[in-house]
């Protein structure tokens, strides 16, 4: 029997109540628990704060933004019509997390706060310039997702803060692609993901490109240099091949040359090329 040492388990019904607990004492928030329960096994005793009854499982849309509640499960996001219309890469990424059992429990908020280099929803959210709404007794603050994670498994969130929601900017593009490469089809902590959104004009030139990668850099990141390289270029197969090479250079520049680099080089180049090709055809890829 595996025992997790829990000295208090609080089940607040309102955000006010939850942030009061967090201000008073050190609590570990628990959403789906798919990351946190494994971490706590045979660990130090903790106080848990269940965030599942705070009504944080909303998806709403206004003129410019989509707001996603932190407690939305991957299952919910994978089939949400607002998500698939306005932030399709987020829905596809959520649909590729782990297995059905994991998607039924795991939340987008947990995925972000856990801040694993291979968290699948983060690269997809980066495409939409996502911002995070953090709440505490001291008030509300907004953090940019691309500044939230400081190193693998570390974020700027204070212990007294709760992740309330994620705000994504609507950015209609002509094509999208999300590719995930994992060791096994269903259950894996993904080894590499590529998210691409392309905007192409009638002359087949790239107006705008947004590209991000998971498990390529120490934290999931946009590839701004690659985006700049593509902007204004005419689409041709050679362009995407060159983009693949440039992505590899960026990986080595930012992550250093590691034992895994020779394996990752051709894989990354190939994925970037394929993702760009698909996005240039307007496909929202679900491989």
């Amino acid at each position: 029997m595996t025992m997790i040492r829990v000295t208090a388990y609080e089940n607040p019904k309102s955000i006010e109540e939850a942030t009061t607990f967090l201000a008073k004492d050190t609590y570990v928030p628990i959403a789906g628990g798919t990351d946190v329960i494994l971490e706590l096994r045979n660990g130090m005793p903790v106080k848990l704060l269940d965030i599942n009854n705070l009504k944080l499982n909303h998806v709403t849309s206004n003129k410019d933004n989509i707001e996603i509640g932190a407690a939305c499960t991957h299952t919910q996001l994978a089939s949400n019509p607002i998500v698939s219309q306005f932030v399709p890469l987020v829905g596809i990424a959520a649909g590729k997390v782990g297995s059905k059992q994991i998607r039924n429990r795991g939340t987008i908020g947990g995925n972000i706060v856990n801040a694993s280099p291979c968290a699948d929803t983060i690269p997809a959210l980066l495409i939409y310039d996502a911002e995070l709404v953090l709440l505490s007794k001291k008030g509300r603050r907004i953090a940019r997702l691309d500044e939230f994670i400081t190193s693998p498994y570390a974020t700027i969130k204070r212990n007294d803060e709760l992740l309330h929601s994620i705000i994504c900017k609507k950015n209609n593009k002509t094509g999208y692609s999300y590719l995930k490469l994992g060791r096994r089809q269903a259950v894996n902590i993904s080894r590499m993901t590529i998210s691409v959104a392309l905007d192409i004009d009638d002359d087949n030139a790239v107006i705008d490109a947004c590209i991000s990668a998971g498990s390529v850099f120490p934290v999931p990141s946009r590839m701004k240099d690659l985006e700049k390289f593509l902007r204004g270029e005419k689409i041709k197969p050679k362009l995407f091949k060159e983009a693949g090479k440039l992505a590899v250079d960026l990986m080595i520049k930012h992550s250093g040359y590691r034992w895994s680099t020779p394996y990752k080089e051709p894989v990354l180049a190939g994925l970037i090329e394929r993702a760009l090709m698909q996005a240039s055809k307007g496909i929202v890829q679900d491989n």
Partner: protein, 162 residues
Amino acid sequence: MKLDFVLNNKRVSINVKGGLRLIDLLREQLDLVGTKEGCGKGECGACTVLLDGKPVCSCLILASQVRNREVTTIEGLSIEGEMHPAQEAFTETGAVQCGFCSPGLLLSTVALLNENPEPSREQIRRALSGNLCRCTGYEKIFEAVELASRRINGLSVQNDKV
């Protein structure tokens, strides 16, 4: 800590420790040993139960998290002593060998068929991909799900005519 929830259609009220996992509550405190623990890490699906009808890993959920919700284990699948059509189909097609994975697979199957009574092979494969089986090579399992699907739909067609 007092915990109230519905287990296999019956109300349960029980004292639990805050850090108790659902699988330990089921197996150790309630003697429902049909739910198996394989990896204990969310990877094999042997511990699958239904939470409000949806498959989840009982090794990755605390008992405290099922408060006021509905849990179904393999013991709750048969109705008045009759096997669920999926259970019959699994035994008939030889989808059960050592049987360790079977309770979890059956619950994932039942959840799938409730949501989608006529799943394609690909949909079956995807829905069951969180349940590992070392023995069967999956082919017999997929056949069993398809058989169960045909029977369930056949039955409901007859009922509709009555």
